[in-house]
Amino acid sequence: MVSMISFQLDGETVRCPPGLTVAGALFRQGCLAIRQTSSSAPRSLFCGMGVCFECAMTIDGRPSVRACVTPVKEGMVVTTQRGPADLGPGS
């Protein structure tokens, strides 16, 4: 039996097997729209290898982290970015 890990996606708990990238975990959930552009268009995984930045997400408070090259970890807090980055709370 596969041991599962859990992480937060926009406040919801998501469970997935280990060894996935954040983008992989989102695809597994059927959640393709990884970010929203400034004009509110949905964008998803595109190059898959860290070149195009289409899968930028806020991960553990850091904005614009590439979900396609970031391994998902237990307890990770992942937030969808809408438009440009925000400075996290407390800054």
Binding site: G19, L20, G24, L32, P42, L45, A56, R62
Partner: protein, 464 residues
């Protein structure tokens, strides 16, 4: 500050080859790669805890093991080399901290990424490169979609298609831009490399068994959908790959994997000050290199697909030869030993030349590829910039990366022109009726990999 004999950037076949040969000759070597594991794209290893992955490529596993066993190589995965400054001085960052390397010789082996021309709908979720789909299915066991179409040109398409099929993913069709009879010239050019031909025929057999059609001389003209793509429109292409829109057909699909070959990642070499030259058949702008893959900058070598797209086997040979050349240059290898040791790699490289050239001819980008672009088709994904904005800047005299950037913000987004410029420069060439080489390359502005302002601020005091 650290001063190894050799710093190798990129842990694919080229970088591993260079590091292995340099270390075998007794040099100290640091090998950095952005991924958590060595292998590059072609030999990419699954994440250590992955349970649903397909087994990794055996030769990749072999190289990885050799590198790990070598006492002369310090492997630093999960690290980004984000620029090459005077010296050469190379800052390498990981988890917010930075080490600045000042190696005696530098090997740049960053690989390549896919060439995707803009077309209406190409920013919709579900449109991705074949490479992205391959990584999902091979290293994580995740389906990119239920109804997948692959389109573009080159041997990578059937390779990925057959991997998807074997993983149980529904592949609807493969659309290849070049005509079938061009592909059937390959056995003639590839008789000295039967293993490559066998590999290709194996992919075709897998697709045939799964009844996945390969449609030749076909290209994408539009993708439609909302939150996710739902339809792909394709049309027959002429000899210049211009679509015949009167024979447009539409099929349902939730995923389109589109790639028209590869673009070398030359930005590190460019930031090192290496002279570039335009080689259409190798993916565009590449560093000018001598027979041992040294660039125009003293002590800087560039190998593998990042120096001109030629595939994994060529990449490893180039890396091996460069590693040996560096050892000779730093006095760790006698000229006679160099000649002897490089010979097998040189022979391999020569043997690959005919099939490589044939593939280059078949898959060379044709100008009609851009005819499905509409005025409001986004050409710069990052900045959401439509073609009409770029075209009007061209009308007002902008004709190169620098001038278009300032006039329109083309290439000013996070990807820094990686995805828009290879296609847009060809569209400008077409519009202005000049050669692509006259339009010029994009510029390389460090950091070439993401670095936070805080990480930059905390850099080593000794950095110049």
């Amino acid at each position: 500050m650290s001063a190894p004999d050799v710093l190798v950037i990129g842990g694919g076949p080229a970088g591993m080859g260079a590091a292995l040969e340099a270390a075998n000759s007794g040099l100290t070597c640091v090998l950095v790669d952005e991924s958590p594991e060595l292998g590059g794209q072609i030999y990419r290893a699954p994440l250590p805890e992955a349970e649903q992955a397909m087994s990794p490529h055996p030769h990749g596993a072999y190289l990885r093991q050799k590198v790990r066993e070598s006492s002369g190589i310090e492997v630093r995965t999960g690290c980004s080399a984000w620029g090459v400054f005077e010296g050469p001085e190379v800052p390498v960052s990981s988890e917010g901290s930075t080490i600045v390397y000042r190696p005696k010789a530098l090997v740049i082996a960053p690989g390549a990424y896919e060439f995707v021309p803009p077309f209406p709908g190409w920013t919709l979720p579900g449109v991705m490169t074949p490479g992205a789909a391959q990584i999902l299915v091979k290293t994580m066991g995740i389906e990119p979609g239920k109804r997948v179409i692959l389109a573009g040109t080159g041997p990578f398409l059937p390779a990925v298609a057959s991997q998807l099929v074997r993983a149980g993913v529904g592949v609807t069709a493969v659309l290849e831009a070049s005509p079938r009879h061009h592909w059937w010239t390959l056995p003639w050019h590839g008789f000295r490399t039967p293993s490559i031909l066998r590999e290709g025929l194996g992919y075709l057999a897998t697709l045939r068994r799964a009844r996945v059609p390969i449609l030749y001389r076909r290209g994408i003209v539009e993708v439609r959908g909302g939150e996710r793509m739902t339809h792909v429109a394709h049309a027959p292409l002429d000899d210049h790959w211009a679509p015949n829109l009167s024979r447009r057909e539409e099929i349902e699909a939730d995923t389109l994997c589109v790639g028209y070959g590869f673009v070398p990642r030359v930005h590190l070499a460019q930031s090192a000050g290496c002279e570039l030259e335009f080689r259409d058949e190798q993916g565009g702008w590449v560093p000018r290199r001598d027979a041992e893959f040294a660039t125009s900058v003293e002590g800087v070598y560039s190998v593998g697909d990042g120096a001109g797209v030629a595939g994994a086997w060529s990449a490893e040979s180039e890396g091996r030869i460069a590693g040996l050349a560096i050892a000779r240059r730093l006095g760790a290898l006698e000229p006679g030993d160099f000649d002897r040791q490089q010979r097998p790699w040189r022979t391999k490289l020569d043997r690959l030349t005919p099939i490589r050239r044939a593939l280059d001819r078949i898959c060379r980008i044709r100008s009609g590829l851009f005819e499905s672009i509409q005025d409001d088709t986004l050409v710069c994904r990052c900045e959401e910039l439509p073609w009409k904005t770029v075209r009007s800047a061209i009308d007002f005299g902008a004709d190169q990366f620098r001038s278009l950037k300032v006039a329109t913000r083309l290439g000013m987004g996070p990807c820094q022109g990686r995805f828009c410029w290879p296609a847009t420069s060809r569209m400008i060439a077409r519009q202005c009726q000049v050669g692509v080489e006259q339009v010029g390359p994009s510029s390389a502005r460090p950091p070439l990999r993401p670095v936070s302002l805080g990480c930059l601020a905390s850099m080593d005091e000794e950095a110049r």
